[in-house]
Amino acid sequence: MIFCRFVSYYLGMHILLIEDDIDAAGYLMKGLNESGHLIDHAADGKEGLGQALTGHFDVMIIDRMLPEMDGLSIVAALRAAKNVTPVLILSALGEVDDRVEGLTAGGDDYLTKPYAFSELLARIEALGRRSAPEQKNNKLKLYDLEMDLIKHRVIRDGVSINLQPREFRLLEYLLRHKGQVVSRTMLLEQVWDYNFDPQTNVIDVHISRLRNKIDKGHDKKLLHTIRGAGYSLRETD
């Protein structure tokens, strides 16, 4: 798997997958496993809820349509039981309202079938990181790149970098998810607030502008393109 290469260093997560489609679950487990994560699988809603309540997981992936008990009810039951494990809801219903419904039911992210595995992986890892204690720092830092959120200033190797407001938000998001792979769709959702996919390479253009500002003239490149998946801000290649 091409994904192994860029996530193997990442601390593996314990993931619960509740999905009734055995084939889909099979390849998801294989892919997540090879990306360094430990997966438990439940094939119906009741069993899934039982496992979710008794086990300790970093992230849960829950299909919306399940036998015995539907995904949104599971999320609602978990939240009622004060379980705050991040949940990614998978759904075959793609309309805007369903997405809103899924998020208001207590889901943390929502992915519509058909989706790319790389997209799912990136989102799962972003969610897993979120469950780790959030740094309350006003400064974000990677190698010699520093961002001061109060003064709205970015410095690389002692030199101040002038960023447009949107570039600042883009870099902030990347810094908050440093070391992870973030997909173009995630950037569009989180930085620009759009939940549709443009047909052209809009995000690539903005990334390449940002890269020009932070990496140009430095031997150590920080902003990496991950083929077929997205981008990653990190020290290692």
Partner: protein, 453 residues
């Protein structure tokens, strides 16, 4: 449909029953009060007579009373008033002998006078219905006075019959009215129903004949026609999509399937396998994009889910999009002109509108050659906002303006560039959803797309 099953008929029957109950209650009350009053009046007259005669007796004595009684009995006959005076042994002293012989029954007492009702035939007269009063005088005498009230009884019977007839007529009129109204409504509903049957049979291509009378049926028919039109359009759209999907997805699916099959024909190097799989992933990504675009169009066309609408500022929406696309245009060495002079608040779905306008911007950027210019403007037309995306690229031939809005339709020259021919279909669907109008114009050179809200 049976008349008896119509709402109007049932309702008028219910009203008829209600009216009948009210009428019966009212008439019966009048009936009883009136007749009780009249009976009271007769008793009063009898009592007065009794008092007068007993006073006469006290002043004038027995003999005079006997004479007066006899006289009154004679003169009172034509008024059917009867008098009798009897002694202790029930011997008739004067007056009417027959009256004196009547045995009292069911007596009621008022002011020491005894009253009772009976019937009796006097000589040649018809049977009289009598109200009789008697009272005791000193020395064991009994004075009896009677009055026939046949006419009152006749009146009572007639009134009762009249009452029954009135209620009956009320019910009849209500019934006729119910049948009539039911018929009228039923006939118009039958017309509507047959029209609807016809519409269903023809897959909603036919609509209903609108009645000329300006009433609630006309309003209903007009609304139904709008609904039928929408259903028809949706059905047609669905067919078109199914056809197009079948047609346009066939080739990429074939490509993926056969590419993989051919790869498996003989054993190959790892890099060759990798290449085949990567190309399959690439092709399926295109398929996924096409599917998502179709779903988006379907959602915009479904025109129902309005919960996530909000009032939004078009200027802000365009500003955000410009922020996203200006860099893309510059990257392609295109000029990007942007003008949003002031706030324009409308009700809408932010995501769908952004996606629609981003489709227009992407088209403009994609098809305009280097050093061209793409413009994004927000104008105001008679108080209504208009969003304009224009370029000076190759444009679209004017006779193709309608066709490019169809799903999967692509201009001949564009077939080899990436894209699925769904972009403008989505724009059109979103614009329609917002009650706006999409207008394509020749920008001489280039394309000018206006969204008129």
């Amino acid at each position: 449909m049976k008349l008896i099953n119509t709402t109007v008929f049932r309702m008028s029957m219910r009203f008829a029953a209600l009216f009948a109950v009210i009428a019966i209650f009212a008439l019966l009350s009048v009936y009883y009060i009136t007749f009780a009053e009249m009976e009271e009046q007769i008793d009063g007259e009898l009592q007065l007579e009794m008092i007068e005669l007993s006073a006469y007796y006290r002043h004038e004595g027995l003999h005079e009373l006997a004479e007066l009684t006899e006289k009154r009995n004679q003169y009172g006959r034509h008024l059917r008033h009867y008098y009798a005076l009897t002694d202790q042994q029930n011997n008739v002293i004067s007056g009417n002998r027959i009256l004196a012989s009547i045995k009292p029954k069911n007596i009621d007492i008022k002011n020491e006078i005894f009253f009772f009702d009976t019937t009796q035939t006097f000589d040649d007269d018809d049977e009289s219905i009598l109200r009789i009063a008697y009272s005791s005088l000193p020395r064991g005498l009994t004075l009896t006075v009677a009055q026939a009230n046949n006419s009152l009884h006749e009146l009572r019977e007639h009134t009762f019959t009249a009452l029954l007839v009135a209620v009956f007529i009320t019910l009849c009129i209500a019934l006729i009215n119910g049948v009539y109204m039911g018929r009228v409504v039923l006939s118009r509903l039958t017309l509507l129903n047959s029209g609807l049957d016809n519409a269903i049979k023809t897959d909603f291509r036919k609509t209903l004949v609108v009645p000329e009378q300006n009433d609630e049926f006309q309003t209903l028919t007009l609304k139904l026609n709008i609904m039928l039109g929408q259903i028809g359009k949706l059905i047609q759209g669905m067919r078109q999509v199914t056809d197009n999907v079948a047609h346009d997805l066939r080739s990429p699916l074939t490509r993926i399937r056969n590419g993989l099959e051919v790869t498996l024909l003989q054993s190959r190097s790892e890099s060759e396998y990798r290449k085949a799989m990567e190309s399959a992933i690439h092709d399926s990504n295109d398929l996924i994009n096409t599917f998502n675009a179709l779903l988006n169009i379907a959602q915009a066309e479904a025109n129902v889910k309005r919960e996530d609408w909000q009032s939004l500022d078009l200027a802000k929406l365009l500003l955000d999009l410009a922020d996203l696309y200006e860099a893309v245009a510059e990257e392609k060495h295109l000029g990007f002109e942007f003008s949003v002079p002031k706030k324009q608040i409308i009700d809408g779905n932010n995501q769908l509108l952004s996606q629609a306008i981003s489709n227009l911007l992407e088209n403009a950027i994609k098809y305009t050659p280097e050093h061209g210019t793409v413009k994004l403007e927000l104008l105001e037309n008679n108080g209504h906002p208009t969003v304009v995306v224009s370029d000076n690229g190759p444009g679209i031939p004017e006779n193709q303006f309608d066709r490019v809005l169809e799903r999967f339709y692509r201009l001949d020259g564009a077939r080899n560039s990436p894209g699925n021919g769904l972009g403008l279909s989505l724009v059109n669907a979103v614009v329609n959803l917002h009650g706006a109008k999409l207008v394509l114009k020749n920008n001489r050179p280039g394309l000018r797309v206006e969204i008129n809200f």
